[in-house]
């Protein structure tokens, strides 16, 4: 779409890229805020926060943004909005059950948006619990295949708990509750 002005081209490309990145950052920020609020602002003692921060770093989120988000979650910042996490459950087209994990400061807005999207596509938003039973909450480990022997990983998983499953040569799953007691082994 080049006319005479290069800025017009850049603007179009950069604008789209920036909007996308902004959206990713919003999402990452909220995850950090939630993590910090639940487990405190210490990255060392808060596993969920550490995970969220690592994820944010891998997306090149600026350090100030991360720190601000942690402060906000820990309640050190005066920024008013209080976020809460909710799961919305419903059915998409063709009877596919859908769970939507939301973090919002305004439930009413979120539920309206989600319901709108679902009903527009021929789905419905259900009651809490109407869909949740079709899912299991699991922990997920991805282990670089290059660094681990398949046998070692398999042995570890089968020894830890019968609930663990090796789903491919480099990843395994286990029940969420088991994770806490097994953490030292697999950290």
């Amino acid at each position: 779409m080049s006319g005479h002005s290069k800025w017009a081209t850049i603007k179009r490309k950069k604008g789209a890229a920036d909007a996308k990145r902004g959206q990713v950052f919003t999402r990452l920020t909220r995850e950090i805020v939630m993590a910090a609020r639940e487990g405190g602002a210490e990255v060392d003692s808060n596993f969920r926060l550490r995970l969220a921060v690592e994820k944010a770093r891998s997306q090149n989120m600026p350090k100030e943004n991360i720190e601000r988000a942690i402060k906000r979650g820990a309640g050190e910042s005066k920024d008013g909005a209080v976020f809460e996490q909710i799961y919305y459950e419903g059915y998409g087209p063709h009877g596919v059950a859908i769970m939507i994990d939301c973090v919002t400061e305004n439930r009413n807005r979120t539920v309206a948006e989600v319901r709108h999207m679902l009903s527009r596509s021929g789905g419905t938003l259900g009651e809490a619990g109407s869909v949740g039973w079709q899912f299991n909450r699991v922990a997920y480990f991805a282990i670089p295949a290059a660094k681990a022997k398949f046998d070692t990983v398999f042995e570890m998983s089968s020894r830890s708990s019968p609930r663990w499953r090796v789903s491919s040569c480099s990843a395994m799953r286990c029940g969420r509750r088991k994770l806490k007691s097994r953490k030292p082994n697999c950290a």
Binding site: R30, R137, R173
Partner: protein
């Protein structure tokens, strides 16, 4: 979140559901979307050829 039971759908319907999931993911307040659909290899191939 892992579904205990996955639903198999024909390729075109799979793509349709995926598109819906994508629009939901794009909402600002949404963190994650989980669904109970099995994405078959054929659907995966169709998706890649589309992109």
């Amino acid at each position: 979140m892992i579904p205990t039971n996955e639903i198999e759908l024909p390729v075109d319907q799979t793509l349709q559901v995926l598109r819906v999931v994508e629009t939901i993911e794009e909402l600002d307040d949404v963190q994650n979307v989980f669904h109970t659909m099995h994405i078959s290899d054929d659907a995966m191939a169709a998706l890649e050829s589309e992109a």
